[in-house]
Structure formats: C-alpha cells, structure tokens
Amino acid sequence: MSQHAEPHSREAELHIVSPKVYVAVALSLLALTAATCAISYIDLGVFNAVVALAIAVIKASLVVLFFMHMKYSSRLIKLTAFAGLFVFLTLISMTMADYISRAWGRW
C-alpha cells in the first residue's frame, strides 16, 4: 500500500498530547529560563557561554519534542529536523574551520 495509508502516520495524526504534559513542559521552560539567568551572574569563565548554550539547547529540545509534537511524529519528520540541524552545523563548523586554521600560518 502507499505510504500515506501506513498505520503509524495515522496514529501520529490522532495522538493528542495531554495538557498535563504541556503544563509540565511550560513550567520547566520557565524554570530553565530563571536558572540560565541566575547562572549568568556567577563567573564561570568560558563555561558561562557553554552552560548558557547547553540550557538553550535543552529548552529548544523541550519545545521541539513536546510543543511541536516531534516525540510523537513519524521518522520522516524527525529526519527532516535532523537534516536542518546537520546542515546548519555544517555551515558553522566548516566556516569556523577556515577561520580557526588561518592562525596556524603556512605549511
């Protein structure tokens, strides 16, 4: 049968996330916001940026997984989001590879 009639995609359509989950996610997002703001007042050296970005990644993952229903979506949607992340990281890392290695001088 064709792809669209596969059972898992129908399930994805019918899956309704309970409001309890939404409340829990929203509360943890607010708590993480407070935490990242508080931590920024402590001097951790380079780790300030690392911690702040780590918390941002956690928050973004919560939004993607629950608010955007990624957790209940088909593999295709997961792959799509992953592809976006991958290409974005390619852009950043390959560009940075040039900038960083320029300081190494000639060989």
Partner: protein, 554 residues
C-alpha cells in the same frame, strides 16, 4: 540519421487530440492566472523562462560581439561590466535554476509518481508569481541602468565601491530564491507523500530522484543566499558593515555565506538535467538504466557532498591553507558520483537498441560536454592548478560546459522528449535533429577556444584583451552565432508544431513511465483513476505485455 526508429504514432487519418485535456478544460486568461494545475503552471513557467533565456542570450551575444576585437570599442568597459552581470544574473537565477525543475519537473513529477497534482498547488502558483515578480524587478534593474558587480555580488565591491542598482538586483535574486524554495519544498512533499499505491522509492523514475536531490539543495541552501543578500542590502542602505572592511566587516564572510548557497546551486542547476538524461538514455536504448540504485543514490550523494565543497571558489581569496586542502579533497569526492552517472549511462547504451531521435542526440551531446565540463572541474578543484586558472576564461569555459553544455542540452532533450505529452503533437523530426547537431557544433566552437584562452592567461570580465588572443576570440564569437541559430530553431519549429505537428498519441516513444500511460495532453487530474505501480521502473517487457493485452482485448 539512422532509419531505425521507435516512434509509434497513431494512424494520422483517425487520430485526434483528446477533446478533454488540461489545456481545454477551462478557457480565458483568469483560468490560467488562478490555476492550481501543475501542468498549466509548468506551461506558464516554460513561456516565462524562454522569454528570459532570450534576454540573457541577447546579452551573451553582445558580450561575444564586444570580444570580437581586442579593444573595448563596441561598448565602454563599464557598460560591458553591466552586460555580463545582467547576463549572469538572468541566466542563473531566472533561467538555469528554474529551467528543468519548474517546467519539466512541474509537468511530469506528479504524473511520474502517480498523483493528481503537486501536494501544494497554491504554493506552486505562488512560486510562479514570485518568479514573475523577480523577473519584473530584474527588468526594472536593467531599465534604470543595470548592475555591474558580476552575478556574485562580491563584497565590498557591491556594498561600497559601486553606485549601480545593487539593491534592486539583490531584491530580484532574493525573490527568485523564494520562488525556487517553494518549488523544491513542493517536490519533496509530493515525492514523499503523494506516491500512488505500489510506487516504492526504488520504482521511482530516476528523474524523480534527481529532482528530489536538487530540491533538498534548494530548500536548505537558498535561505542562506537570501539572508546574505539582505545583509548586503542593509549594508548599502544604512552603511553598517558585516562584509565591508571599511566598516569593520569581513569580505571573506560574505564569500563563505554566498558560496554556501551558490556552490550547491550549481548542483541545483545540473541534477535535474541529469534526471532528464537518465530517462532519455533508457528510452532510446530500450534498456533499464544500468545500476539503477547506484544512479539514484549518486544524485543524493552529489546533493550531500555539495554542501561540503563551497570554499573551492575561494582558494585565492586568503582562506587558510589547511581549509583549502580539506575543501580541495572533498571537491574531488564530488567527481565520484558524477562519474558513476556517466559510466552507468554508457553501460546502459552498451548492447541497447539505440535509436537517434532528437532527445537522444541532445542526451549524447550532454554526455560528451558534461564529461569535459566535469573533468576541467577537477583542474579547478585542485588548489595548485586553480591558482593559475581561476578568474581566467578557463573558469568561464568550465562552467559553460557544465551549465550550457550540460543543463541546456538536457533541458532541450527534455523539452523534445516530453513535447508530445505536453501538447499532444510531435515536433518535426528532421529539422530538430539538425538543430541538435548545430547546437553541438556551435557550442564546441564557442566554448572550447575559451579553455585555451584561459590556459594562456586571458582574464575573465574585461572588455579589452591583448591582441594575441584575438584569433581564438573570433572562433568563439563565430561559434556563438552558430549556437544562437541552434537555439532559435527549436522555438520556431516547436511553435509551428503546436498547430501542424503530427498527432502523437499517448505513448509515441514506447516509454515506460506512468506519464506515458495516460492520454496526451493529459487530463487535469492526470489519470482517469489512480494508477497502481506493479512493475519496476524502465521495465520494457512489462510495457510489451501491456500492449499485447490491449491488442488482444480490442
């Protein structure tokens, strides 16, 4: 040419174009301007890109005419800069990027996957309107004096030094970018979600695979170009530099962001053409494409590798040696899937029953020219030779071999191949074979001398050149006139065939794709009932059994 042919037309005394088809379903201008039908939108696109192709072609003619003599005598140097810039912008963003996907792809992909339409018909129409808007802004740019940055918008040239119409040109490219994003997005969704029962991924025609790969590049690459152009425009308007060193910006950052799109854009331009070639080669050698899976995956591999090689446009611009080494190495990897395709097409021809109808002539031309274009790409991808060859006519010849010798040949192959499906009528065979040969000869005469010119060191983008280069430039200009004839002929005889061509019937080529199993021109909803795919792609025995069955039942 050879007398052998696979063309199988219905009896001309009784054959009729089906009364009910997508062209006759509704009448009036509004029924076209508000249509959701992918075949009508493809037709709109075909007319529009042909229009822009001839504007771009006329500009190319001016360039070649100027280069006939060593002095800058036909036009002043700054006019020449504007002419080659407009030629590049129009040809790339308004012709090559939408050429095969937005016309042929739009027309056949829903039929190939057995769907009634693309998944998002309104978005498809929006994409055409954006294209027209972009074209309008581009023409406006030309009217008010043009732009002379080169199609690459190189900063800080574009942001600081020039007072030509960079903003409107950038805006046009920005809008055209969104037009192509929407086309790509639509294709991906359609190919994933709209396939008919039985149409598994490995039963899809290779044309669909190739367009799928190109669509991924459109969706992921184009927005980076969009934001880059926004920054360029902001830099010009409020004089704040991300790219302009005078304001503390970094021109190499512009290069990184620009080529992050514009290198994959090269694959956006060539991959759909490769898809056309797969269809044509298989049909006219009556064989399943050799190594179907390898060809399918090589398209995806080109798309993926395409994101990792962009800095090979920047070897002489002061990027780090180590990065240059890595990017050079990765560039060599792209040659592998491209070679897989060429070899597999060659193996498809081997022991096939080859006939030389026009699409096949263009396809064989493609194979030769693309191979040369691709191989010279290796020269340019290697850091050492690149330093000698970059920014010379060698580069110009290289990308014209790939883009014109590759994509334009493939586009013409595709137009001739699907013309009977599109209009219900055949194009005239003899004259079109003649046009294909003229194009091939004209092309080589135009661009092969440019390889030598580049090797000798003639730089690109100058209106004047030392007199010792004149002989080769005269060859090139002479070739351009031949090439021009080669491109004008199809417009004339294809228009003629709209009225006087022989009735084609539903499957003149005896091809296997689902699009050939419905009437020509197709119904608005493509099929009378949704087809069920019960055989592999390019299964010519299935077609024979099918036809035997039909004969028996009549």
């Amino acid at each position: 040419m050879s007398s052998a042919t696979i063309v199988n037309l219905p009896d001309p005394s009784t054959a009729r174009i089906p009364k009910m088809n997508f062209l006759t379903r509704e009448n009036g201008l509004l029924s076209w301007l508000l249509t959701g039908d992918h075949k009508r939108i493809a037709t709109l696109y075909l007319i529009s890109i042909t229009f822009f192709f001839f504007i771009g072609g006329a500009l190319a003619g001016l360039i070649r005419l100027e280069l006939l003599t060593p002095q800058s005598d036909l036009m002043a140097a700054d006019t020449y800069n504007k002419v080659f810039t407009m030629h590049g912008l129009i040809m790339i963003f308004l012709f090559l990027v939408p050429s095969v996907p937005a016309t042929i792809g739009n027309f056949v992909i829903p039929m190939m996957v057995g769907a009634k339409d693309l998944a998002l018909p309104k978005i498809n129409l929006l994409s055409w309107y954006l294209y027209i808007l972009a074209g309008g802004v581009m023409i406006y740019t030309m009217m008010v004096g043009g732009v002379d940055t080169g199609w690459t918008f190189t900063a800080p040239l574009s942001t600081h030094y020039l007072n030509t119409n960079v903003i409107s040109a950038g805006l046009a490219v920005f809008i055209a970018g969104f037009s192509s994003i929407f086309t790509g997005l639509n294709f991906i969704v359609t190919i994933h979600k709209m396939r008919c029962p039985g149409m598994t991924w490995f039963r899809l025609p290779l044309f669909v695979w190739a367009n799928y790969a190109a669509s991924i590049l459109m969706v992921l690459g184009t927005p980076v170009l969009a934001i880059t152009l926004v920054l360029v425009i902001l830099e010009r308007t409020i004089h704040i530099g991300v790219f302009d060193p005078a304001y503390g910006g970094d021109p190499l950052l512009f290069q990184h962001l620009f080529w992050f799109y514009s290198h994959p854009a090269v694959y956006i331009m060539i991959l759909p053409g490769m898809g056309v070639i797969s269809e044509v080669i298989s049909t006219f050698s009556r064989k399943r494409v050799f190594g179907y899976t390898a060809v399918a995956f090589s398209s995806v591999a080109i798309a993926v590798f395409g994101f990792f090689v962009w800095a090979h446009h920047m070897f002489i611009m002061g990027i780090s040696n180590y990065a240059a080494l890595v990017f050079s190495l990765l560039t060599m990897l792209v040659a592998v899937p491209s070679a897989i395709k060429i070899f597999n097409w060659a193996f498809t021809l081997y022991k096939g029953s080859i006939t030389f109808e026009t699409p096949m002539l263009y396809a064989i031309g493609f194979m030769g020219l693309f191979t040369i274009g691709g191989m010279t790409g290796i020269f340019l991808g290697a850091t050492g030779t690149d330093i000698h060859l970059t920014e010379t006519y060698f580069v110009v010849a290289h990308f014209h071999f790939v883009m014109v010798g590759g994509m334009l040949m493939a586009f013409l192959a595709g137009i001739h191949f699907w013309w009977p499906k599109w209009t219900g009528r055949m194009y005239p065979e003899k004259i079109s074979q003649f046009a294909a040969v003229v194009t091939y000869i004209g092309f080589n005469l135009t661009f092969f001398p440019q390889f030598i010119l580049g090797m000798l060191g003639m730089p690109r983008r100058y209106a004047a050149y030392p007199p010792q280069f004149q002989v080769l430039n005269v060859f090139s200009t002479a070739g351009a006139t031949v090439l021009g004839v080669g491109y004008l002929l199809p417009v004339l005889y294809l228009t003629w065939s709209l009225r006087y061509g022989a009735i084609a019937g539903s499957n003149p080529w005896q091809a296997t794709g689902l699009e050939w199993q419905t009437q020509s021109p197709p119904l608005t909803e493509n099929f009378t009932e949704i087809p069920i795919m019960d055989h592999e792609a390019y299964d010519y025995e299935w077609l024979e059994r099918q036809q035997a069955k039909e004969v028996a039942s009549v």
